[in-house]
């Protein structure tokens, strides 16, 4: 028996104009392969550099910070699980990620997202430069700069949502829009 409604899945993907999607454990190796796929599909587009940059920040956030982990035996590493969808609208590309986060991270993310979304591009640039000079926040494996960078690249205020998954976790969705026209 065919295990699920593939035609519906196909039609949904067509209707949402999905260019690339992946759900699962994201290792660094897989990220590289998916990144190559993204570049391949959008190689003739002016915005490919920016879309690729947002994709890498999202994928590395899932890899490092998703509260849902998977042990990959073949590389002997535990990596984060999540979903990334790149889709196309009339005048925009949308790069959207979703993953489980702890309740503590959810509260911090909500506050950070609300704060960043209220800032102008100039204020975001200033914050990015200030934050880069400081020591990374506790628990950060990168520089704590990813979300600010994505907010800077988004051509309209980014969208986010946090929905309860369990007593311990919430599902964090982040959507970045890159306009097709202009710079």
């Amino acid at each position: 028996m065919i295990p699920f409604d593939l035609l519906k899945f196909y039609n949904d993907m067509t209707q949402s104009r999905i260019l690339m999607t992946f759900k699962g454990a994201i290792s660094q190796e897989l990220l590289v392969e998916l990144g190559a796929l993204v570049r391949n599909q959008l190689q003739h587009d002016d915005k490919i550099q920016r879309i690729f940059a947002v994709f890498v920040e999202m994928a590395q956030n899932i890899l490092h910070y998703s509260a849902e982990k998977d042990m990959l035996q073949h590389i002997g590493k535990e990596v984060g699980v999540g979903v990334i969808v790149i889709s196309e609208q009339e005048d925009m590309y949308s790069i959207c990620s979703g993953n489980a986060v702890t309740k503590a991270d959810a509260a911090r993310l909500e506050e950070q997202c609300r704060y960043l979304n209220a800032l102008s591009k100039e204020e975001l640039k200033k914050l990015y430069q200030e934050r880069r000079k400081q020591a990374p926040p506790e628990g950060s494996k990168g520089a704590g700069l990813g979300l600010i960078d994505m907010a800077r690249k988004s051509d309209k205020p980014f969208e986010y949502s946090l929905q309860p998954l369990s007593d311990e976790t919430s599902f964090f969705i982040l959507n970045i829009s890159i306009s097709k026209a202009g710079r």
Binding site: Q49, V56, R132, K133, G142, A143, L145, G146
Partner: protein, 124 residues
């Protein structure tokens, strides 16, 4: 002092630091799993080079893409150069960017604002 030479991979740039000429090249793309881990050896070499020689330092960045955690590591390297420059060392940074890549140009401009060393932005 021996040269530092690291071959390019899909997610890390080639690093060629020549202790004789003082020319330090970082070329490629940078989005490793852990940027801090990758750049530690680069930073260690740079600090030692600053301490052990009097040679003029010319650092060439030619990156087509880097992620945000690499950005932090680049600033750390530039900070070492800034301190050396403040102590009288001759230092020059060349930031090469593809002429149609405004994001990479802007990144260079922002580093130039943050760090007080002679800093050239060069389109190719």
């Amino acid at each position: 002092m021996t040269n530092l030479s690291i071959a390019e991979t899909k997610t890390t740039p080639s690093v060629n630091f020549d202790a004789q000429t003082g020319v330090l090249n970082i070329t490629g793309e940078s989005y490793p799993d852990s940027a801090m881990q990758f750049y530690q050896q680069v930073l260690d070499w740079l600090k030692q080079f600053v301490a052990e020689s009097q040679q003029k330092i010319v650092m060439n960045f030619k990156l087509s893409y880097f992620n945000t955690s690499t950005s932090k590591c680049i600033l750390d390297m530039l900070s070492v150069l800034e301190a050396a420059h403040a102590n009288g060392r001759e230092v020059e940074v060349n930031w090469h960017y593809r002429k149609d890549d405004e994001d990479m140009q802007e990144s260079g401009e922002e580093f130039a604002q943050d760090i007080n060393v002679p800093f050239n932005l060069i389109a190719y």
